[in-house]
Structures are given as structure tokens and as C-alpha cells.
Symmetry: C2
Subunit: 188 residues, 2 copies
DNA sequence: CGGTCTCTTGACGGAGTTCAAAGCTAGTGG
DNA sequence: CCACTAGCTTTGAACTCCGTCAAGAGACCG
């Protein structure tokens, strides 16, 4: 169950078995049903979530009350609201399970004390944070450079499995276009 | 000269005087004239730059050959192309001095060896990276939520000093609108 | 001063939104 | 196992934002 996270930790930093046991013992395994919230907009995000099984989305409500999805996450991805987690301010986004989902979660205090006990963990999360930064920049570049149609094709190319597991209107939201227009694009 | 960086390091992590001396001794102070490149698109970015004095922009050329600015940086900011720096792939962006600029630069190998000697430095850069991530997410949110006019007003509110130090057409590029349309927005 | 860089103006066109409505699909209870 | 409903997807018409193009007016620097 926690093997997935162990593998992920070892992918970036070398840990001994006993170190991993110690670290893993501070995580909590939590399961969420479809539509359950891992994090609610307005609440302070005190945890990081590692997806063991399932699929979640991060979204917020815009000024007109529409949901805007800014991230999906599946198996082996970390998800949290970084700004809220780091600064302790209310989260601007909610995180919701799209499928029944199993996560390993750890809260901020615990992680801070683990950083002190295992400086290598700090390295792991520096690397994870760098990778998140790169991912966000790439997503951003896609918006800078591509029109809606190209964004859609790019999405289908890069993350084909998502289109199997996520309804159209959520993909439209993620791509920042209306469901109506996405429908038109798909036809053409 | 390097006092700025010392203060910045101490803002996030506690260092002794001798630790700071040691760390700082591995930085190189470099000055750039207006229009000089700190980093050229297509080259691998092997350095991080801390701006001591001046103003730079990061930009890349789009498919039509137009410059698209994705970041400005001034005194006390770090700048680099994270993706190129981390992965060793060619940089998708150039970094250019808009004003005569003084930076403290450090290269990847040096920083990696310093991480080992001073784990606290890894903490510092984890925090800096988190903050960069937050900044990029905020910028991204602005694009998700606001139309051109609101983006412009938001920019003028958040970073008023930039409007003094940066020409209009660069602000337009940063805001992802044409200089012509920005001109129209300013009139209204 | 002359020339290049920067900012403004206006006409036109296209990408994408909005609104309203109808057609589909899948889950739910009886 | 069918029927109903709620949620999802498609269609089409009107409208808006913003880019493109072309041209002119300042402004800065040698």
C-alpha cells in the first residue's frame, strides 16, 4: 500500500529501509469516495497528499460561480494548495475526488519535524517542488502559445488517459474554454 | 555588495557569520550593461542569478518571432530558467538586462556541493522554490480570472514601480496583450 | 537635426463566449 | 428490467474582446 510512496521517495533520494519505515509511519492512509473533498476552499491547507490510487481535481469558483479546474492528479502525484500550505492563509481552491481515491497524507508540523530528523527529506521535497514548478510553467507556456484547438490536441496527446477518466466539461474547464466550444472543436 | 544576499539568506534560515562567508565566497559578482544577456535561449542554464542591483526580464520568441516576456526581476529576486537548470535541457527563454545590472551568480555544481556541506542551504532553496511556485501560480490565477483591462489594473496596483522602470510595450508583452490594445485600455 | 524606437488611432476580422434549447446517457428507484 | 430524472453534450445565433494591419505622431539619441 505504501510501497508506491517508498518507490517514489527512492526515485529521487537514497533512503535506508529503516529510514523509510520511520518516515512512512508518520503518514496517514485516508480513503475518499467520489465527490468527497480532500480540501475545502477557504480552509487552511495543512497537509500534502500523495495519491496512492484514484484521481482528484483542484478547482476554485470564479466570480460567476463557475468551477475552474487548475490541476488534476492521479497515482504517484503529490497535490496540495502550496500557497495555503506554505503561508497558512485560506486556500483559494478545493481538492475533490473524481474517483474513489486513496491517499497518504502528512501534515505540516509533522513534515517540518521530519525535515530536521532527515535532511534528505528536505532534498526530496525541494526536488518535488522544482518539478511542480516546471510542470506549472509548462502548462502556462501552453496557454501562452496555443489557441484552444491546439491546447485540446496537446492535452489529448500528453495525457490521453485523463480523457478516459474525466468528463468532457471538466477537460473544458481545465483548458479554459466553454463546454460548448470544446464540443464544436471536437466536431471539426 | 554581498550584504543584500546575506540578508536574504538570513531572512529564511539562520546562518553564522562564518557560514555566510564560506557560502558567499562561492558566488561570482557579475555586471551586465543594458541589453546584455545573462542567459541565451537554446543554451543550457547552469546558473542561478541573485539580482543585487538593476532589472532584468525573461522572455522567449514565439512562433511569429515576437518576444513574449514571462518574468521581470529586480533587486533581491532570484532568477533562472528552472526547467533548464534542473533538467540540463536547452533553455526555452533568454534573460536580458533592461537596466545596468549587478548579479551574484552561482552555478549548479557549486550549489550541489554547498547543499552537502550546508544542508540549511537546501532548506533556503526549498523555501525560495516554494515562493517562486506561489508567485507563478498567482500570475497564472490572474490570467484565469481577469480580462486584459483588469490584468493591467492589477499589474499597476501590485507592481507600480515596474511601470516606472519598464517601457509600455514590455508591460503589454508581460500582460499578453498587444501594445495597440494596451494603448486603447489606458485611454479608456 | 535626422532616424530609429516607442506610443497612439482607427477600421476590420476572427476566435471564443453567452444564452437558450434540444438530444443523449447513465444512474436510480420502483 | 424498465422508466425517469438529472447531468452531460451538442447546436445555432448574436455578441464581445482583442488581434491584425496600416499609418501617423512623439520622443529619445547620436
Amino acid at each position: 500500500m505504501s510501497q508506491r510512496l517508498k518507490n517514489h521517495l527512492r526515485k529521487y533520494v537514497t533512503f535506508s529501509d529503516s529510514e523509510l519505515e520511520d518516515i512512512l509511519s508518520h503518514f496517514r492512509l485516508v480513503s475518499y469516495a467520489k465527490k468527497d473533498l480532500l480540501l475545502q476552499e477557504g480552509h487552511v491547507c495543512t497537509q500534502k497528499f500523495f495519491i496512492v490510487e484514484g484521481l482528484v481535481r483542484s478547482y476554485h469558483l470564479d466570480s460567476k460561480g463557475n468551477e475552474k479546474i487548475n490541476q488534476f492528479a492521479i497515482e504517484n502525484w503529490w497535490i496540495t494548495n502550496v500557497e495555503s500550505f506554505v503561508t497558512g492563509t485560506p486556500s483559494s481552491s478545493s481538492i475533490e475526488a473524481i474517483e474513489p481515491t486513496l491517499v497518504l497524507s502528512i501534515d505540516k508540523n509533522t513534515i517540518e519535524s521530519l525535515y530536521i530528523k532527515f535532511p534528505k527529506l528536505e532534498r526530496y521535497f525541494r526536488i518535488i517542488t522544482e518539478n511542480m514548478l516546471i510542470a506549472i510553467q509548462r502548462r502556462y507556456e501552453v496557454f501562452l502559445q496555443l489557441k484552444s484547438k491546439a491546447r485540446y490536441l496537446n492535452f489529448m496527446n500528453q495525457l490521453p488517459e485523463f480523457s478516459q477518466r474525466v468528463p468532457q466539461y471538466m477537460i473544458a474547464s481545465y483548458l479554459e474554454i466553454t463546454p460548448e466550444y470544446l464540443s464544436e472543436l471536437r466536431k471539426a
